[in-house]
């Protein structure tokens, strides 16, 4: 395992969304890969700029929905056919049309739980501590400022040269991020 770099990375602060998107694109073109962009609202172009295109979340949600629905049907089938078959008005034990509402509800429940928990898990949340919070100005990232962080683990990263590169993007400020 490689020794831990002395700092987490370098953080550049920008005034508006356009500047951040452009900076992210040029960092990606220069060859930086271990980086992240932070903004106070979702910006579609940013994820593209970072080279992040697809998330597995929709597939997971589909699986969650199918499992929820199967659970609903399996539960009703087991109880009405296997565990306690009860003849109600001559209807079949597996009277599936009457089972549909609960199958549907549990499918929605399964999918919704996976959507939320899956999103949090893929994002690595909850994560109470993260090095970028060490920068005092970063509190503005949830208000009206835009940040780009180039991380020290990137092979291209060099404390001075990367700082010069970030300065060439005309940010308000470039800060070193402590671990």
């Amino acid at each position: 395992m490689k020794p831990r770099p002395p700092i987490y990375g370098l953080l550049a602060e920008f005034d508006d969304a356009n500047a951040l998107v452009e900076a992210t694109r040029s960092a990606h073109e220069t060859g930086y890969r271990r980086m992240d962009a932070y903004s106070p609202f979702p910006i579609e172009e940013l994820a593209d700029g970072l080279g992040f295109r697809k998330t597995r979340l929709p597939l997971l949600v589909l699986i969650g929905g199918i499992l929820g629905g199967l659970t609903g049907w399996g539960m009703q089938y087991y109880s009405a056919v296997i565990s306690y078959p009860l003849n109600v008005g001559g209807r079949p034990f597996n009277s599936w049309p009457a089972f549909v509402p609960i199958i549907f509800e549990l499918a929605v429940l399964g999918a919704a739980l996976v959507a939320v928990l899956g999103m949090l898990a893929l994002n690595g949340l909850p994560m109470p501590y993260h090095p970028v919070f060490n920068v005092a100005r970063f509190a503005q990232a949830t208000r009206d400022r835009f940040f780009l962080c180039l991380e020290a683990t990137d092979p291209l990263f060099d404390r001075e040269r990367t700082k010069d590169f970030l300065r060439s993007l005309q940010p308000r400020e470039v800060t070193e991020v402590e671990h």
Binding site: A17, Y38, S39, P40, F41, D48, A80, P101, A112, T142
Partner: protein, 463 residues
């Protein structure tokens, strides 16, 4: 400024102009909404409202404690009317909740950007209304401490719920609805909780909002998955909300009681739910907007759009009433015909005409543009609809049950003090939770308001 903006053209620029007043920046939007929670003095009206509604919550506690101690005999219910206020209130409350989901999910899928400033607050309303609704079937059970018998679990009695009964479907529909509404609401809150965390000057605020925000830091990758999850949840909540009130209407439609056994019930109930819910959103939004001076964010355009939805759903509900009356005549069934005559001219006739006046006639005022834009008129119409929809559920539940097939078992239902105390108590609980929400959480989605500003759009030059 907002008051003069023309809401007629649905183009993007005019749209943005009308749904948020000009002159705002990311910073001012953030400051204005978070100030309500963090820096502005709590208005005196808040304290008064909080105290009054808290007293009603205490009344609710008394009513429920006395009920559990004594039994459902403290209410006016008996055979044949075994479904009194409890079921009326259950259906009324759950219907009110539906507008929140409509605003947050369906209008999101339809790209209706004006929903942004009212969705958070409408979702909170959904949650609290469903919580109030959930109380009623439980305390109506007679032995509420056996509520868990509703759930399927392996037990020593070797018994399962009856899967073919709409009442069991209801358990699953309502609990799923509550869970999904809670998730949707909480997910929407996470980025704003991070904003409050970063703006808190006190230690407790930083810790509590910090825990709730789960370390959200606005990373582009996180936002991408977040948006995906939010859109998927909206897509899931849309059919869910339709299913919930459909299942509620099955509680009636599957029974063979005259006036209930009808195929129009599911769409008629869903439309009625949206109608009642939008009326409640307007009833709450109009005073809150004035008290917290949020006219920049909840503009006249919002109120007018909601007025139009109120009018449209009101017409659907009116069609439902007309069809009910027509079908009872056309069916040639004596019991159905008698039921309609009894609704209109029997012992409960004042309730029927109250619902016609409130639900069918009052919204017709909204055809006229000047009345639709008059906030006082709009508030009064919305208030009338709240009453009218409650009267509708009362008429559906009570008139049908009190005049069943056998003349020998006819009997009227009269609510007692405890019926009213429980009902008023849940109104108190609903408003009390809403007061707490307004005080401690951002009632307008801050990050979504930022996206309404023109500066949030990135100029596309191609990578």
């Amino acid at each position: 400024m907002a008051d003069q903006s023309s809401p007629t053209m649905p183009t993007d620029t005019k749209d943005a102009g009308a749904i948020i007043s000009p002159g705002h920046t990311f910073g001012t939007v953030t400051d204005k909404i978070s100030a309500i929670v963090q820096t502005r003095r709590t208005p005196r009206g808040w304290w008064i409202g909080f105290a009054v509604t808290f007293a009603l919550v205490i009344l609710l506690h008394f009513a429920i404690a006395y009920l559990i101690f004594t039994g459902v005999g403290i209410w006016g219910i008996n055979v044949p009317v075994a479904w009194g206020f409890a079921i009326v209130n259950f259906v009324w409350w759950i219907g009110i909740g539906h507008a929140g989901t409509l605003i947050s999910a369906i209008l999101l899928l339809l790209h209706q950007k004006w929903r942004t400033s009212i969705n958070r607050f409408a979702e909170a309303m959904t949650l609290f209304a469903v919580a109030c609704a959930g109380i009623f079937p439980l305390i109506h059970m007679g032995r509420p401490w056996y509520f868990f018998w509703l759930l399927p679990y392996p037990n020593t009695m070797d018994m399962w719920p009856q899967w073919r009964s709409p009442l069991v479907w209801d358990v699953f529909a309502v609990s799923t609805y509550f869970t999904v509404s809670l998730l949707f609401w909480y997910i929407g809150l996470i980025p704003d909780l991070a904003t409050l965390r970063d703006r808190s000057t006190r230690f407790t605020g930083r810790v509590i909002y910090g825990i709730l925000a789960m370390g959200w830091r606005g990373s582009a990758r996180h936002w991408h998955r977040y948006e995906t999850a939010y859109l998927l949840l909206a897509g899931l909540a849309t059919p869910l909300v339709v299913s919930v009130h459909t299942v509620v209407s099955f509680d009636f439609a599957v029974a063979i009681v005259p006036g209930w056994h009808s195929t129009i019930f599911p769409p008629y109930f869903v439309a009625g739910a949206l109608f009642a819910g939008f009326a409640m959103v307007l009833t709450l939004a109009i005073p809150i907007r004035a008290v917290y001076r949020l006219q920049d964010f909840i503009t006249k355009r919002h109120l007018e759009n909601m007025a139009k939805i109120l009018l449209a759903t009101g017409l659907i509900v009116t069609y439902g009433y007309v069809m009910e009356a027509f079908m009872s005549w056309y069916s040639g069934n004596g019991f159905e015909q008698y039921l309609t005559i009894n609704r209109m001219f029997g012992d409960y006739a004042p309730w029927y005409w109250l619902l016609i006046a409130c639900n069918c006639l009052a919204p017709q005022l909204l055809w006229i543009k000047s009345l639709r834009q008059n906030i006082m008129v709009l508030f009064l119409v919305a208030f009338a609809v709240n009453i009218g929809m409650w009267a509708e559920r009362f008429v559906i539940v009570v008139t049908s049950l009190s005049r069943d097939y056998l003349v020998s078992s006819w009997a009227n239902y009269y609510p007692t003090f405890w019926d009213w105390a429980t009902y008023v108590g849940t109104i108190g609980l609903f408003l009390w939770l809403l007061f707490l929400f307004i005080r401690f959480l951002p009632m307008i989605s801050i990050f979504e308001m930022r996206t309404l500003l023109p500066e949030s759009k990135v100029k596309e030059e191609g990578p």
